[in-house]
Amino acid sequence: MNKISIAPEQIRYAEWLRWSGWLGLAVLVGAFGLYVTGVLPPVIPVDQLPQVWRLPSRELMLQHGLQGGWSWIRSITRGDMLNMLGIAILSGCSALPLLAVTGIYLRRGDRLFAALCLLQVAVLVLAASGLIAPGH
């Protein structure tokens, strides 16, 4: 009789996280395959990569006219930029599970943890917004 009950919010969070994590990984693997096999041409030609990956990120953006933030969406049909979709899903996949458990906390009257979930989502949205950038 060593079974213990796991909080329902943990079960729901785990399910949502499992699916969103696998989705991100699958998109990344698929996009990388399309990229390295040359099925989708990249924005940065592959023969320039050995020069590119030595540059600081801000110099790379200047040299190739990349604007940062979500500008990669505009080139989503290019092999290297499609990988960004997988990376973005992986980086953002915790937000949906957090929203999914907020309702459970609210129904239980646990407003403190509902607020913590929403604050955590706000931090993720702020990070993803592209509004904050380092001052060089």
């Binding site: 909080a7 994590g21 990388f32 390295v36 933030g69 990988n83 960004m84 980086s91 993720l124």
Partner: protein, 339 residues
Amino acid sequence: MIDSIGSRLQELAGPGSSWRAANPAGHVGRRRVVPLLLMALLCPELADAAPGMVETSAAAWWVWPLALFVVCFFLGIIAVPAGVGGGVLFVPLVSGFFPFHLDYVRGAGLLVALSSALAAGPSLLRAGLANMRVALPLALIASFSSMLGALLGLALPDSVVRIALGIAILGIVAVMLLARKSEYPDVQASDRLATLLGMHGVFVDGASGQQVAWRMHRTPQGLALFLFIGVLAGMFGLGAGWANVPALNLVMGAPLKVAAGSSSFILSLVDSSAAWIYLNNGAVLPVIAAPSVIGMMLGAKIGARLLHVLKASIIRRLVIAMLLFAGGRALMVGLGIGI
């Protein structure tokens, strides 16, 4: 096997591929792939400096990502039995021995650590080994500070970040050598904040089959520690399992297994926040990030299966030696000594 992968990649690149077009006379033969990989890994300076290798490295762009995949695969195998996350091994080793700029290595390091945490998180939550009431408040603080750490890391000069990385890695080695673990810390009473947040619970210890009740204390000190841990995670792209577990276990009194499980949940949120900063500022290159994530995750799956075969204490000593070497190298590169 590497020969066949190289052969396949060459076939896939095709006669009209850009790397062949750039160097039509000097394509890399199958027999040269293994020596190239070994040379690239053992002595990156030679690979860059030798005239023949410059030509080769310009032509065979895929040698480095392939080497990265192989290295990450082996890092994934040893990370599990050594009890460390992927990021803490990845950043110092790859920044020290691969030709990539530190910005992209840190961005990829965060994604490696994030992917590992996402893979482990759901089962740990379902087993009750990760506890959301413990992890969520700490993750909120650390994910906010990890954004600040990432901004700081991207703004500081490369040499300063390398010196700080070297010092941080040597500090991590000290933590690994000196910090004692406590399976079930003795917590006499919870503090008020821990009681308010409901930081207590019961879990089933898989080894003994017994239910273990636990509670936590020193919550304000823990929150302050996680503020600092977040900065380090974001600044260096290290993940933060190496710091989360001692902070939860030794400072806040969580049982070791709950500390390890909750650390994974915290990592998944902290590294997400910092990864977005790197992604939005052009510091994530798919050609570096994707093979790292895929290699590390495949390796970690093998590592988990070999958990009972490999001797954990020997692997742990190997990891400490690797970190000492890589941390020392980062420090020397940052200081411009002899490299």
